[in-house]
């Protein structure tokens, strides 16, 4: 069995070579499913370190993107060992870029970070009409709806989306978080979301607080 702390540290340090070396060594020893799940968990803990360093401004968005890639690679190596069982989901998020806006870098970072802490994420994609959010909420009954946008025009689209979620009687059961460059406290009030952030790590923490 590998040193789990070392796995966590390699992810936290974004040390790709070291992480791959440990994981490939681990896989070659024919570990049990339970052991593999522990390693997955150690990787997720590493992502928490990445999030902390991001908030301390030691890491930046480029590093978050790289950490998402690193985690994906790690899961790819470990997946065959895990089989059908997977770690319990802490909650679910319907996520998408509001209509009129086709940007998704921030959304994708938030997605990989929230998946890393155990959320099930339903990613609708970019430029999503109001109806796509409403339909998906009806279908999967998520805990949280996340909306993203880079352009200032996305604020108006987010408001329309929230209004429609309310009109459809779905707001009672979900928390709504908005994120992206133009989002501010005032914009959040105007839109009627429950929380806002321009920082993916903070956004994940807010979501974790909601499903505790």
């Amino acid at each position: 069995m590998v040193d789990l702390k070392e796995v966590t540290q390699a992810v936290g340090d974004l040390d790709e070579n070291k992480l791959m070396e440990i994981l490939n060594g681990f896989v070659s020893e024919n570990p049990t499913e339970e052991e593999a799940l522990k390693v997955v968990n150690a990787c997720q803990n590493g992502m928490a370190i990445v999030g902390e360093l991001f908030e301390k401004e030691e890491y930046f968005v480029g590093d978050l993107i790289f950490s998402g890639e690193l985690l994906m690679e790690a899961i790819k190596i470990l997946k065959p060992l895990i089989g059908s069982s997977s770690t319990a989901k802490v909650g679910s998020i319907v996520l998408g870029t509001a209509h009129g806006d086709i940007h998704d870098i921030g959304k994708n970072i938030f997605k990989s970070m929230s998946e890393a802490v155990g959320f099930k994420v339903y990613d609708l994609g970019i430029d999503q009409p109001v109806s796509a959010f409403v339909e998906k909420i009806k279908e999967v009954n998520p805990n949280i709806v996340g909306m993203s946008g880079v352009l200032t025009l996305a604020l108006e689209s987010m408001k329309e989306t929230v209004d429609e979620i309310k009109r459809a009687g779905l707001k009672e059961n979900v928390k709504i978080i908005i994120g992206g460059n133009p989002v501010t406290k005032e914009a959040c009030n105007f839109i009627g979301a429950d929380a806002f952030t321009t920082n993916a790590a903070e956004g994940v923490r807010i979501c974790q607080g909601w499903v505790k």
Binding site: L14, E16, E57, E58, Y59, F60, V61, G62, D63, I65, F66, E69, H99, G100, D101, I102, H103, D104, I105, N108, I126, D127, P129, L151, T152, L153, L155, E156, N181, P182, T184, E186, A187, N189, F190
Partner: protein, 456 residues
């Protein structure tokens, strides 16, 4: 209209002072509303109006009547669908609401680095452009030639239509006449050019960690291309080459210092050594890089999006010309009084000592992004209150091109079979008269400019 002429003279003189380290009579107000909000203001359907830029003239004229600015508030667009669509662009596409936007795209694969480093311009034309522009069909040369010709003509047509409206409005309302048209330029830092349409935001973030040496070499390879892309054909102290700065705030300082800054700094110094100024849009929050910005040539124009105006003014205000920082989103989410308070704060902090002109932190994208009434109140407030009592005095440091020396042998030269100098051309066509130079070489330059514009 003598009033208009007098107003234009006043405007020209406050900009002239701004750019020549003098305290102007009042703070110049530089408002630029993009094509989209103006079309919406005129009640035009955006998706169709963009196909005929001449349609917005009436709306642009109306904006000029209600919104005070010293520069013409209508600037046209650099992203019309005619040329992007005729090339089947992947990197500029229309969203569901008619807005042309730039999605995350990858135009160059990791295995292309070696070719980019060896023959940068060839790689851009042969590999990157056909990936981003599907109508540039490498296997169907005539279709490709026709598509390309159509696109470049559409570009000239649309740019000219918008240009004619701007010229008319400048005369009618006495806006700042601006510098010689040939003395401006538009380009990117070498690293940003690589990150933007070549590798994409996501992929470049991997490359910085996985192959930093290749990234550094690629920046060197791209240097002569982006330098030439921005190079004006005439030098004018009032003009500037515009560079939006994309990636630094998303990078660690360590990576920035090693990979982003060196080629960029050399480029700005090289322009300065020729007497050319740059206007940089420092996207996002540059607080942690202010000391780097201080090192740039005197009178570099810095437009900031976010950051502490006080700190920026303290650190940079004597050397550089500052603008931006006024949060455009306030114009929608706050009351008129709050917007005016913010305007007062901007003037209090940024105006003293000169080297400041007013603009918002970014342009509104749609007319719904702002309450026009608030915007009008803010610019009128700046006009009436941004008045200097010490006009004519010296403002901070003076620019001197001789302070900047760049060793030409430090940079690579643009060499490619796809770009011919007049000497090359003459060698192949010895009978050509030099009278043909301005025309043929002019077209050669125009095509280079357009091809690289497609990757900006």
């Amino acid at each position: 209209m003598p009033d208009t002429k007098a107003l234009q003279q006043e405007r020209n003189s406050i900009y002239e002072d701004l750019f020549n380290n003098k305290i102007p009579k009042r703070v110049p107000i530089n408002i630029g509303l993009p094509f989209e909000p103006i079309a919406q203001y005129g009640g035009l359907d955006l998706a169709s109006a963009q196909w005929n830029p001449a349609l917005v003239e009436e709306a642009a004229d109306k904006i000029c009547q209600v919104l005070f600015s010293d520069s013409c508030p209508f600037g046209g667009s650099i992203r019309y669908p005619s040329y992007y669509q005729s090339l089947e662009s992947q990197s500029f596409v229309m969203g569901s609401n008619g807005f042309i936007q730039h999605p995350e795209v990858v135009g160059m694969l990791p295995e292309d680095y070696d070719y980019l480093i060896e023959k940068p311009y060839d790689c851009l034309l042969e590999r990157v452009l056909p990936k981003q522009y599907k109508a540039l069909k490498l296997d169907d040369p005539f279709i490709m030639a026709i598509n390309f010709a159509k696109s470049i003509m559409a570009y000239q047509n649309d740019t000219m239509q918008a240009g004619m409206i701007i010229a008319k409005l400048k005369e009618k309302y006495g806006y700042y006449s601006g510098a010689d048209r040939r003395s401006g330029g538009f380009t990117e830092a070498p690293f940003d050019f690589l990150a933007d349409q070549l590798r994409g935001f996501r992929e470049i973030s991997m490359d910085v960690r996985r192959m930093p040496e290749k990234v550094a070499e690629a920046c060197e390879a791209l240097y002569p291309i982006v330098l030439k892309k921005g190079m004006p054909s005439a030098v004018d102290n009032n003009a500037a080459v515009f560079l939006p700065l994309h990636m630094p705030t998303f990078m660690r300082e360590k990576d920035f210092a090693k990979l982003w800054w060196p080629s960029f700094k050399r480029m700005i110094d090289e322009y300065a050594s020729m007497g050319i100024h740059c206007q940089l849009f420092c996207e996002d929050n540059w607080t942690r890089y202010l000391d780097y910005l201080y090192e740039l040539p005197t009178d570099t124009r810095l437009m900031f999006e976010y950051g502490d105006p006080k700190l920026i003014k303290e650190k940079l205000g004597k050397k550089h010309i500052i603008t931006g920082l006024y949060p455009v989103t306030m114009l929608k989410t706050h009351t008129k009084e709050q917007c005016l308070d913010k305007a007062r704060e901007m003037l209090d902090v940024l105006a003293p000592g000169g080297k400041y002109f007013f603009s918002t932190d970014k342009n509104p994208l749609t007319i719904k992004d702002i309450k026009l009434e608030n915007y009008c109140a803010v610019t009128e407030y700046i006009r009436d209150n941004g008045v200097y009592s010490n006009a004519g005095e010296t403002a901070g440091l003076a620019f001197n091109r001789d302070d900047y020396k760049v060793d030409p042998s430090a940079s690579r030269k643009l060499e490619s079979k796809y770009y011919r100098t007049w000497e090359n051309y003459k060698a192949q066509n010895p009978k050509v008269s030099d009278l043909g130079e301005s025309k043929l070489q002019g077209f050669e330059e125009m095509i280079f400019q357009y091809l690289m514009f497609l990757l900006l």
